[in-house]
């Protein structure tokens, strides 16, 4: 049933696609197909709005990833700066910081030990958590912009959902009008063959 709906929706959407993202991951298509399979009565406008909603969800995920990466990159940069004093040669990457945050205690201990050794010349911080705190402060402005972008996509999704509801309401109304007309026609037919009239 859902497969049929999806095929029906894709048949409408494919010739009229408006979203052309440079996305090689296939995430957008997965989101879009998930939404389209839930459409009750697919028509041109509803599939177009679904396409916009899918894009907003995709963008929201992008922004969340960016925000996380900004924080991880900034932390890695602070650790490197604390160790070398200049931050030119990168020893640790965002991936290392992520590993520590995911619970790699050995790596955290290693970073803490290295930072303790450079305590005398280190102007930044003497522990992983200290570097992380400094990183949060240094990129607070960008994190706030990323938060605004995420919130914007959430609002976009909400508005588009309401628009879809309104459009669906329209198709429900058209269906109701059809039923109403059918009822009137039936009544008329009944009137024509009214047995009491005979």
């Amino acid at each position: 049933m859902t497969e049929d709906k999806l095929k029906q929706s894709l048949a409408i959407l494919n010739p009229i696609r408006t979203v052309k993202l440079k996305d090689k991951t296939g995430n957008f298509e997965a989101i879009l197909q998930g939404l389209l399979s839930d459409l009750e009565t697919p028509n041109t406008l509803s599939v177009l709005l679904c396409e916009q909603i899918a894009e907003s969800i995709f963008w929201m995920r992008r922004h969340v990833e960016d925000k996380e990466l900004i924080l991880l990159e900034a932390t890695a940069e602070k650790i490197d700066k604390a160790q070398s004093g200049y931050g030119d040669g990168r020893t640790y990457t965002a991936e290392d910081v992520k590993q520590v945050l995911l619970g790699d205690e050995a790596l955290k201990q290693k970073i803490n030990d290295e930072l303790k050794n450079t305590r005398a010349t280190n102007p930044i911080a003497t522990s992983f958590d200290g570097c992380r705190a400094k990183a949060f402060v240094s990129c607070a402005k960008e994190v706030r912009i990323a938060d605004d972008l995420i919130q914007r996509q959430m609002l976009n999704i909400r508005h588009l959902q309401r628009s879809l509801d309104a459009i669906d309401m329209k198709s429900r109304i058209i269906r109701r009008m059809d039923l109403e007309l059918e009822r009137i026609e039936r009544d008329l037919t009944v009137l024509e063959y009214d047995p009491e009239a005979d």
């Binding site: 009229i16 408006t18 979203v19 052309k20 993202l21 440079k22 028509n43 041109t44 406008l45 177009l48 709005l49 916009q52 894009e55 963008w59 992008r62 922004h63 960016d66 925000k67 990466l69 900004i70 990159e73 990129c139 960008e142 912009i145 990323a146 605004d148 972008l149 914007r152 609002l155 976009n156 508005h159 588009l160 309401r162 628009s163 309104a166 459009i167 309401m169 329209k170 198709s171 109304i173 058209i174 109701r176 009008m177 109403e180 009137i184």
Partner: protein
Amino acid sequence: MTQKQTKANRENAKQSTGPRTRSGKGRSSQNSIKHGLNQALDLEHNNHFIILLRLVKEDGYSHDEAYSILSAIFDHRRVMEACDQQYHELKEVFGQAEAEMIRELESDDELGRRTLGYNEKLVIGRFKARTKRTNERLGSVLVQRVRRLGKLIRYQRRSISQIRRITQEIKNDKTNPFIFDF
């Protein structure tokens, strides 16, 4: 700069009278445009729009309803395409060409001395420090991307509220009890 050089510069500048060809003038007329999101959309000559307009009308919407909702969607598309373009924009790096030149001068002491004088090490040091400071201020590729996208938030707000407003108007028109009171 000497007076002679200044005069020569002014004379040379007079010979440049700007773009002459039609395409050159067209290109230079776009110089001041950053993203064009405040300009009016030309939908009358957009084939994609015309096809969609026909399809939406076939679904039972009036010409005005279909036109207004599709215009709003196309405006939103323009904003989101600008976002995608900004997302994939290359990182802005300060002094990249100069850094190449400095590397060349550093590799050849004699050339460095001839070009920058006897204080060449000091000049290079100052340049490197300035480049580093400016690039730190510009931020990483991620930071630059977020800043660029942040500038487009207000355009997204505008286009989405337009879609919302128009669909709501269509809904209100059709749910008006006087229309359906057969």
